[in-house]
């Protein structure tokens, strides 16, 4: 078991609850202590008062005035367990000798203010009783007065107070806990907002708001800088790929021109060209995968008009009706490659018509491109999306357009599915993550 919780939420909550608990225990102990002192003080005062009454029954010679004690009986008797004793040099009198009487007598005043008397002292060491003792000096020697009450008298009010005390402290603890919970939730809310911001970046937002609490603003700034670095690294990689393409393709084109009358050399050159195209496309795919939000409808419309013109001699009808609200979390150039390859492949093989459609399907956007051409036999479908395999050798072109589309889709967590179209032909559908409309 982990001692420190994994979540900040848990840590803050745990720490706060621990502190609250300690505070409550300390408060409870302190309150109980104070209470006990008050109760004990009250009892001591009462026992001291009793001692002063008893002292009134002792005269200067150390004799005990029993008649007076008899008169005091009502005052001295407070209940079972309450006891007193006067122990002089001559005799000892204790509460046991006096039967209980209900009628209280008059209370003497200032009995303990006489000369030669000390303040009463607590008397410890006896079980079950709380006692006070005073020693009075008389001519016959010291007379020791003792008054005792059962310890219950102290314990009972404390016990009675403990239940409401604990209940109150418990309620206090709950209130503090709830307050902490609320505080932690509110306190951590910017963190959640930041996480949502980062998630939005993953879905295609270019940056997150830097209007964050002071503690989080540096993080937001760093994240934005990181995103910018990534974007520029991506742009550099793309530019390198394009430069490489340019650098390689132009000499190959020149060579192709000079050897075009030599079939053997032309074939070698065609292999070189195919390899370059293949690896450049792969390089472009590897550089891709940078999520940003791209509106689907205009991108498809541009591609459709481009492919219509490139395949003008085929007079294929390409019909695309895309909801303008749809956005995909796919880089614009990657979307062009992905959809361009699918639509071009369809336009190349279609007899008359290509249908392009898109819809939201299980939290993704499904783009489907359906043609009415010969389709691809079930056995060849897997091979059709393998890089470098060209099922249709008759025409120029990438030949691995479907493979590129599949790789790009996978880069964004989507899949390319090839299927039979309803009226024959190929139905290629690809899923892409949903982007945020900007």
């Amino acid at each position: 078991m982990r001692l420190i919780p994994r979540s900040i939420h848990g840590r803050m909550l745990g720490l706060s609850l621990l502190a609250t608990l300690v505070a409550l225990v300390v408060a409870g102990a302190a309150i109980a202590g104070v209470l006990q002192r008050f109760v004990t003080q009250g009892l001591d005062q009462r026992l001291d008062a009793e001692l002063s009454l008893l002292a009134g029954a002792v005269d200067g010679d150390g004799r005990i005035d029993r008649a007076r004690l008899t008169r005091l009986r009502g005052l001295l008797d407070a209940g079972p367990g309450w006891q007193w004793q006067i122990s002089g040099p001559a005799q000892t009198v204790s509460s046991a000798e006096f039967p209980t009487l209900r009628t209280p007598g008059p209370a003497p005043r200032d009995a303990l203010r006489g000369e030669g008397k000390e303040r009463p002292q607590p008397l410890e060491g006896r079980d079950g009783v709380h006692a006070r003792r005073i020693s009075i000096a008389t001519d016959a020697g010291p007379v020791v007065l003792t008054a005792a009450a059962p310890r219950d008298v102290v314990a009972r009010p404390i016990q009675a107070a403990v239940v409401p005390l604990l209940a109150t402290l418990g309620i206090l603890g709950i209130v503090l806990g709830v307050a902490t919970l609320v505080q932690v939730r509110i306190g951590l809310r910017p963190l959640r907002a930041l996480r949502d911001g980062v998630a939005a970046m993953r879905r295609g937002a270019t940056s997150i708001s830097e209007a964050q609490p002071d503690e989080l603003r540096p993080l937001a700034i760093e994240l934005n800088a990181l995103a910018r670095d990534n974007a520029s690294a991506l742009a550099t990689a793309r530019a390198s790929a394009a430069n490489l393409a340019h650098a390689l393709k132009t000499p190959v084109a020149t060579l192709a021109l000079t050897v075009r009358d030599d079939p053997a050399q032309a074939a070698q050159l065609a292999r070189i060209d195919a390899t370059i195209r293949h690896h450049l496309a792969r390089a472009r795919n590897i550089a891709g995968g940078h999520a940003s939000s791209t509106a689907l409808a205009p991108a498809i419309a541009d591609l459709v008009s481009t492919i219509r013109r490139l395949r003008m001699e085929r007079s294929i009808v390409i019909d695309a009706a895309i909801d303008p609200a749809l956005h995909v979390a796919v880089d614009a150039a990657d979307l062009d490659e992905l959809a361009g390859n699918l639509i071009d492949n369809a336009a190349r093989h279609a007899r008359t018509t290509v249908h392009v459609a898109a819809r939201v399907d299980q939290g993704m956007i499904r783009l489907s491109v359906v043609d009415d051409g010969p389709g691809i036999a079930l056995a060849d479908r897997q091979r059709a999306t393998d890089a470098g395999v060209r099922l249709d050798e008759r025409e120029d072109g990438h030949g691995f357009g479907l493979a590129i589309a599949r790789e790009l889709a996978a880069l964004y967590g989507g899949v390319l599915v090839l299927d039979d179209a309803a009226g024959g032909g190929l139905s290629a559908s690809v899923t892409m993550p949903i982007g945020t409309a900007v």
């Binding site: 393709k249 190959v252 084109a253 450049l280 013109r309 150039a333 361009g340 120029d396």
Partner: protein, 222 residues
């Protein structure tokens, strides 16, 4: 058919120009963006083959400027950039066709011929004028079903007349379509070419419109 070829590669440019000339085209080669823009602005071409990555000015910029200035010559982009985004950008800038390097010269020529034919307003690939037929895809002329053998200059003149048949082509405009920009042109040479053509396809098809130019006229059925 006069082509503006814009290609900065010192090997590919001349090689492609040679190949196009072998297909009867008059070719002006521009090796940088500035020259290309200037030539496209001032000279008359049937079509342009435009590279995108150019020193001086980028191909897309040149194309956009031509279109903004109302220059509507057919433009085929020939580039190493083979991304769909590049193709979309090319067509959006006003290109009429797009090919990627490396390429087959035969296909390039076929596409150029198709562009020129469509720009002249012809939907069908085979044009006919009486006994004369022009197969625009192969560039082959036929007279009464038999192929006609033509020199490059003769082919340029006849194809220009055929593409705008029944209309008069001004002499100067015809000269512009036939001779390359740096050619040393004898003012009588056009008459000489037309004379040779008349010998090959019959004198009745090409009218001389005095003081203006020439016209390929559909013969009225007798």
């Amino acid at each position: 058919m006069r082509i503006l070829l814009v290609e900065d590669d010192p090997d590919l440019g001349p090689a492609l120009a040679k190949a196009l000339r072998g297909e009867n085209c008059a070719v002006d080669l521009a090796a940088n963006g500035v020259d290309a823009g200037h030539l496209g602005d001032t000279e008359a071409y049937d079509a342009a083959v435009l590279d995108l990555g150019l020193p001086g000015r980028d191909g897309v910029t040149i194309l956009r400027d031509w279109r903004a200035a109302g220059r509507d010559l057919p433009v085929l982009i020939l580039t190493a950039r083979d991304g769909w985004s590049d193709k979309v950008a090319g067509f959006k800038a006003g290109a009429d066709d797009f090919m990627t390097k490396p390429f087959r010269v035969e296909e390039l020529v076929m596409r150029l011929r198709a562009l020129v034919r469509r720009a002249a307003g012809h939907g069908a690939t085979r044009l006919e004028c009486g006994p004369l037929a022009f197969e625009t895809q192969t560039g082959q002329f036929e007279l009464d079903g038999l192929p006609v053998k033509l020199t490059a200059l003769e082919w340029r003149v006849l194809s220009a007349l055929m593409l705008s048949k029944d209309a008069v082509i001004e002499r100067l405009a015809l000269m512009e379509r036939v001779y390359e920009g740096d050619a040393d042109v004898d003012s009588n040479s056009l008459e000489v070419i037309v004379g040779r053509l008349r010998k090959k396809i019959g004198s009745s098809l090409i009218d001389t419109v005095r003081g203006r130019g020439y016209r390929l006229a559909t013969p009225t059925p007798r």
